[in-house]
Each structure stands twice: as structure tokens, then as C-alpha cells.
């Protein structure tokens, strides 16, 4: 184990350079975020992830955000265990009817001010499951959504760009 530690000190970090925030996300957020958001989010974000019927693909890539390459922590963005501790809900999946109630409950107990980021094509419009009797479809049809990050699943770099856009817009004056 000691040699592993030693090597880690000697090697250059694997962490990638911070990407530019996503332009489309910046535009979507410029409309959505208010002054209160800028005050709260300009410091750091606590995220509660909610799988509302995903195939688990989005979860894998959200997990990847925490590996040494993307290292989400360095931006002050962290995942928390309870919606009661969260500023942002990161929601995936085509919102199955069996999860709709739990999603709504989680949203309700998240303290204000709060924001919702819908991750993946299923969360955008139900994706390949949108015609199903078992799915509601878009997350925005259940709870208000402030930002969509598309992809099936979105790559970690795209997730990172979207979340950085959230931080960036939050820390500059509102564009009207």
C-alpha cells in the first residue's frame, strides 16, 4: 500500500482541466435562475440524485463525475444523502408511475430555494419509454425543471459542463 501512496504523490494528477460551461445550458439557466439562486449557488452546490426510473446508465455516468478524472468536489459540488440537505435535485429516468409519488415527496421536502436538473433523454421527454403505460414521461411534467442535460446517457464531461453552467450563471448578474 505504501508504494501505491508513493506513486500517487510522484505522478501528475489525472484530473482533467475544467471545461467551459455548456452554452445551451447557460441560455436555459439565464432564464430560469433568479437572484436568490445566485446568492445560494455561487458558493457551492449540494446535490441529491434521484433515479425516477432510469435504466441505471445515467447513474453510472453521474458516479463517474466523482472519479479522479472529473473530480466534481473541486468545484464545491457535492452529493448528499438526503433531499433535506440539498440545493439541487438531479433527476434521471422517464418518471415511472411507481416512482412519481416518491419524486414528488423528495421535491416537497427539499428546502427552498431549490433547483432541479433533469439528466438524460428519458428525463427530457421519456426517451424510448415515453409511450409506456408505466411512465409519466418528462420530469418537467411532474416537478419544475431548471436545466436539462441531454444524452443517453450524457457523458460525464457534458454533465460537468451543465453543472458548471449552473455555478457560472448563479455567480453573475441576471441577463434579461
Amino acid at each position: 500500500m505504501n508504494s501505491l501512496f508513493l506513486q500517487s504523490f510522484l505522478k501528475t494528477p489525472l484530473t482533467i482541466k475544467a471545461p467551459d460551461p455548456d452554452e445551451a445550458a447557460l441560455r436555459e439557466l439565464a432564464e430560469a435562475l433568479d437572484l436568490r439562486a445566485r446568492e445560494v449557488l455561487s458558493h457551492s452546490i449540494s446535490i441529491r440524485e434521484i433515479d425516477a426510473g432510469s435504466c441505471n446508465g445515467c447513474e453510472l455516468e453521474i458516479h463517474a463525475l466523482q472519479n479522479s478524472f472529473y473530480d466534481l468536489d473541486r468545484f464545491g459540488i457535492k452529493f448528499v444523502a438526503s433531499p433535506k440537505h440539498a440545493d439541487v435535485l438531479l433527476v434521471t429516468g422517464p418518471v415511472t408511475h411507481n416512482m412519481k409519488f416518491a419524486l414528488q415527496r423528495a421535491y416537497d421536502v427539499t428546502p427552498d430555494p431549490k433547483w432541479v436538473v433533469a439528466v438524460g433523454d428519458c428525463a427530457w421527454n421519456g426517451g424510448v419509454f415515453r409511450e409506456s403505460y408505466a411512465c409519466v414521461g418528462a420530469v418537467s411534467s411532474v416537478i419544475p425543471v431548471d436545466l436539462h442535460i441531454r444524452g443517453c446517457p450524457p457523458k460525464p464531461i457534458d454533465l460537468l459542463k451543465g453543472l458548471l453552467a449552473l455555478l457560472e450563471v448563479a455567480s453573475r448578474p441576471k441577463i434579461k
Binding site: 501505491l4 433515479d51 415511472t96
Partner: protein, 501 residues
């Protein structure tokens, strides 16, 4: 079959896996054989007028399907004598309204009373059932308290509900309630053409998208009596092994993390990320989603990408081995994983549990070996089987499998055939056809059966390996402390999405 006389000599469909229509007498004989252990249950599903059961015969390394015509929408319960069929029968009722006569547990499983309709797979319309409160199994005794967990869990994982009954720190009973991510996959398949349905198959369980897409493509190809080009078969195996490698690396690290050893989690996470980046370089998608299609694959491997992958293998394997050494040398970590979450060998056999959960408790089954499909019949690899049955054994089976994956990837790259990567499906797809496939995903064997009519799916049934693993998680946590549940759970890493469908 141990009793060949029990099946008529004239199957409805023949190669490679025959399907027989049977009467209730033979149906009961099959259940006898499941109970005595000469057969393992592989799947249970229905069409409008009949119920199908697939069984694995270990002695013959063979899978057979039997079909029993329904009588007034009813069939004799399998689970009344063979418990592994229980959740399958409960799900079957929710989906089709078909009743298992004698089923010991008639609570709903996938239907939580939230859909706008009842029995979505049934012909005709039904009056929606009024949802009743779900009653958990009773646990009685002094000082016993319940801990409800989920459906939303603390980590970034899929949703499901766990009801713990504990006495102090010790778990007396865990009862799972699943179905939260039921997306209606089987209904979505119906009426889709075989090409476009591949997208749905690849999203039944995202972490096994390659295995599911492969099982689906193989089932379609069996039905159409075609084979993908040889190069495509090898590229599919390459993707499947990359998927296995990525998942094993990620999960071994995650088990360490759940034992509060984050150093290994970080390093295994680096390996996993490298695999995903290489997968994207080779096949254009980090998880190889939508690359496998009926008839072949849609993306070819370029010589440059193959070279990059090959160059990565040796140093990566060395790094992996060093990490394994750290795992093996760390007494405090072993203290958490050894003798924790013990899974009994007899249960693994009764439930026909595949994957590393089965192989860590002495069940020697790997579809790549036992039901060898191309190109694994031309590759050299070992299947590791351990008997300890604890968290540590499951980790070790996966460690050994990673070593084999490195070898398989080398063999695949070295002997990769040249030529076409996809064949056009036959223009005229008229008539009724059936296909079946079984594929070894990273988690275990995925069973897929489909019925096509004029090029469109009438029925497509997919059985995730988790169906038989989830019940054993309930059993293995008994007597462990609540705090060890995440460790046990992660060492199984069952699929919610694959199970819920």
C-alpha cells in the same frame, strides 16, 4: 432431461433450443425435477393462451422450454413447491392477470396500483383493480423494530424498498419490495419491428446494455435462422468483455468504499474510467450502447483503436494486480468482507443463481462455458468457482474474472477475423418465428425469448439474472448487523431496472 419420456418427441420449435407443448401431468413432472434439483428454473412467462417455462438441465448443458395451455387463465403454481418461481408468478399475475393456482403469496409485485390500467399484457380490457395497502410479512418478538429504507436510497443508486426488522443491530429479516423502476418494457416491445426494438433491449439495464443487446440480437437471429458475420460476433464479445471489465472494476472499488477504504475505490475508479474511454474510442459510445444490432454490429473497430486498446492492456493489468495485492494485504478491509453476507450453496443451487453470486458459493455455471456461444467456443478461459460464499468470495470471483477478461481481450484482438460487420436481415420476414438466447452478462446469465410475426415482435421476454439473486440477498443478511447491509448489497449489485422491466 432426466426423464425424456416426459416430453413428447415432437417439439414445436427445434434448434438450437426446442420448445415442447405439455399437459399438466408433464408440467408437474417438470416441477418435480426442479424440486429435486436436476433442473434449474430459467424463466417463466406467458402469451395469451399459454404459459412458458424454460429450464436448465445441468447434466446435459441444455435449455428446454415447455409450454402449458392455460385453462380459464390459470395454471398449476410452480412456486407452491419450488420457491424460486414465486416472484415470477406474482409478476406474471400483475402483467397478464394469469393465476397460479396454489401460489403461496398473492401480493402484487410489479403493480403498485399506480398505473392507469391493470394487466397491461393481457388481451382485451380489464377493470382497474383498486390498489390495496401492501402488507409486509409479520415479524414478532420483544424489542424488534423496523427500519424502512427507500425507494430513494442515500447513494447514487437505483430505487427499491428494503424493510429491515432488527433486534438491536442484528437483522432478523429483510424484506425487499421492488418494481419502482418498472417501465413497461415487455409491452413496449409488442408490435415493434425487430430493428427498432433493439434500442429498448439495450435499455433494460444500462450497466448491461451490451449483454442485453447481444441477447436480443442473438434471439432475433435464431428466430430468422441467420448468423451475424464472424467479425461481428468477435466484436460483440470484445464489447461484452469490456463491459464486464468496467463493471467489475467499478464494483470491486465500490465494495472497498462501503468498507470505508476509499483509496482502492479511487484507483479502481480510474481503471473503470479508462475502460469506458477506450470503449468510446473503439465503438463510439462509453457503454457501447446501440452498437449491437440484429444482423451484426453498427460500428467497426479501426486498427488504430485496436492498437490503443492492446497497448493499454499490459500496464493496466499490472496496475490491477497491484491493487488486488493492496486489497489482499489489508487486514482491516478483509475483516469487513470475510464471513459477511454468507450465501448458502444449497440455496444457490435451488435458485439456479448465476453470475459471481452463484460462483462464489460453489455453483459452477457460466453461460459462456456451459452453453458456449460463438466466439467463446474458440477462446481459452477459466471459470473461477469458490465455496466461501461471503462478500470476500464474491469480490475474489470478480478479481479472477478480471484476470480472465484481460486474457480474453488479448485473444479477441489477436485473432479478430476480417470481413463484413453486419448482414441485412432477410427481406421477407413473413410467418411466425421464435427465438431464444442466453448471454453471460457481468452479473450473470440473461435469458431472452421472443416471438416474431411478419417481422414484428408479438412477445419479447427478458429475464435478468437478478430475479434469482435478490431473494438470496434477503437470506444472506440474516444475522448480520444493519451497518453491513451496504457491503452485502454492493457485493451482489443486483439490477433494479433489469428486474423491474
Amino acid at each position: 432431461m432426466t426423464n425424456p419420456k416426459s416430453l413428447s418427441s415432437d417439439p414445436v420449435t427445434k434448434a438450437p433450443w426446442p420448445r415442447y407443448v405439455v399437459d399438466t401431468i408433464v408440467w408437474h413432472i417438470m416441477i418435480d425435477q426442479l424440486v429435486e434439483g436436476s433442473l434449474s428454473l430459467c424463466g417463466l412467462w406467458a402469451e395469451s393462451d399459454k404459459i412458458h417455462m424454460s429450464v436448465y438441465d445441468e447434466s446435459a448443458s441444455d435449455i428446454k422450454i415447455i409450454s402449458l395451455p392455460l385453462e380459464d387463465g390459470k395454471y398449476p403454481s410452480v412456486s407452491s413447491r419450488h420457491p424460486p418461481a414465486l416472484r415470477l408468478e406474482r409478476a406474471l399475475y400483475d402483467m397478464s392477470g394469469i393465476i397460479a393456482v396454489g401460489c403461496p403469496d398473492t401480493r402484487p409485485w410489479l403493480d403498485h396500483g399506480q398505473w392507469a390500467l391493470s394487466f397491461p399484457l393481457a388481451d382485451g380490457s380489464f377493470i382497474k383493480k383498486t390498489p390495496s395497502e401492501y402488507v409486509f410479512l409479520p415479524v414478532e418478538g420483544d424489542g424488534i423494530h423496523q427500519i424502512p429504507v427507500g425507494p430513494i436510497h442515500a447513494g447514487i443508486i437505483e430505487p427499491g424498498h428494503f424493510r429491515f426488522s432488527a433486534n438491536g443491530e442484528t437483522v432478523i429479516r429483510l424484506e425487499e419490495r421492488l418494481g419502482y423502476v418498472h417501465k413497461g418494457v415487455e409491452k413496449l416491445f409488442q408490435g415493434k419491428d425487430v430493428i427498432s426494438a433493439a434500442k429498448i433491449a439495450g435499455r433494460i439495464s444500462g450497466d448491461s446494455t451490451v449483454a442485453y443487446a447481444l441477447a436480443y440480437a442473438l434471439a432475433v437471429e435464431t428466430a430468422l435462422e441467420i448468423k451475424a458475420p464472424e467479425r461481428a460476433q468477435w466484436l460483440r464479445a470484445l464489447m461484452a468483455e469490456l463491459e464486464r471489465l468496467a463493471n467489475h472494476c467499478g464494483d470491486i472499488g465500490a465494495v472497498c468504499n462501503d468498507a470505508a477504504f476509499s483509496l482502492l475505490h479511487a484507483h479502481f475508479g480510474v481503471l473503470r474510467e479508462e475502460v469506458l474511454q477506450l470503449t468510446e474510442l473503439c465503438f463510439g459510445h462509453r457503454l457501447s450502447m446501440d452498437v449491437i444490432c440484429p444482423g451484426g454490429v453498427s460500428t467497426d473497430l479501426t486498427p488504430d483503436a485496436a492498437k490503443r486498446l492492446e497497448e493499454w492492456l499490459e500496464p493496466a493489468e499490472k496496475r490491477f494486480n497491484k491493487l488486488v495485492q493492496v486489497y489482499d494485504d489489508c487486514a482491516s478491509l478483509k475483516n469487513r468482507t470475510q464471513n459477511t453476507g454468507f450465501v448458502r450453496e444449497d440455496l444457490v443451487r435451488t435458485y439456479g443463481v448465476g453470475g459471481f453470486v452463484g460462483r462464489a458459493s460453489g455453483r459452477n455455471f457460466d453461460a459462456r462455458k456451459n452453453l458456449s456461444y460463438s466466439p467463446y467456443d474458440q477462446l481459452t478461459f477459466d471459470v473461477t468457482v469458490l465455496n466461501a460464499g461471503d462478500v470476500n468470495a464474491r469480490v475474489w470471483v470478480r478479481i479472477c474474472e478480471v484476470t480472465q477478461v484481460f486474457s480474453l481481450l488479448r485473444q479477441l484482438l489477436m485473432k479478430l477475423p476480417s470481413g463484413a460487420i453486419v448482414y441485412q436481415l432477410p427481406e421477407s420476414l413473413v410467418g411466425d418465428r421464435e427465438g431464444m438466447a442466453i448471454v453471460e452478462g457481468f452479473r450473470g446469465d440473461i435469458f431472452m425469448w421472443l416471438h416474431i410475426c411478419d417481422g414484428r415482435l408479438v412477445r419479447c421476454y427478458a429475464r435478468d439474472p437478478s430475479w434469482f439473486q435478490w431473494p438470496l440477498l434477503e437470506n444472506c443478511i440474516k444475522g448480520n448487523i444493519v451497518a453491513d447491509f451496504p457491503l452485502c448489497n454492493k457485493s451482489f449489485n443486483c439490477s433494479y431496472s433489469g428486474h423491474d422491466g
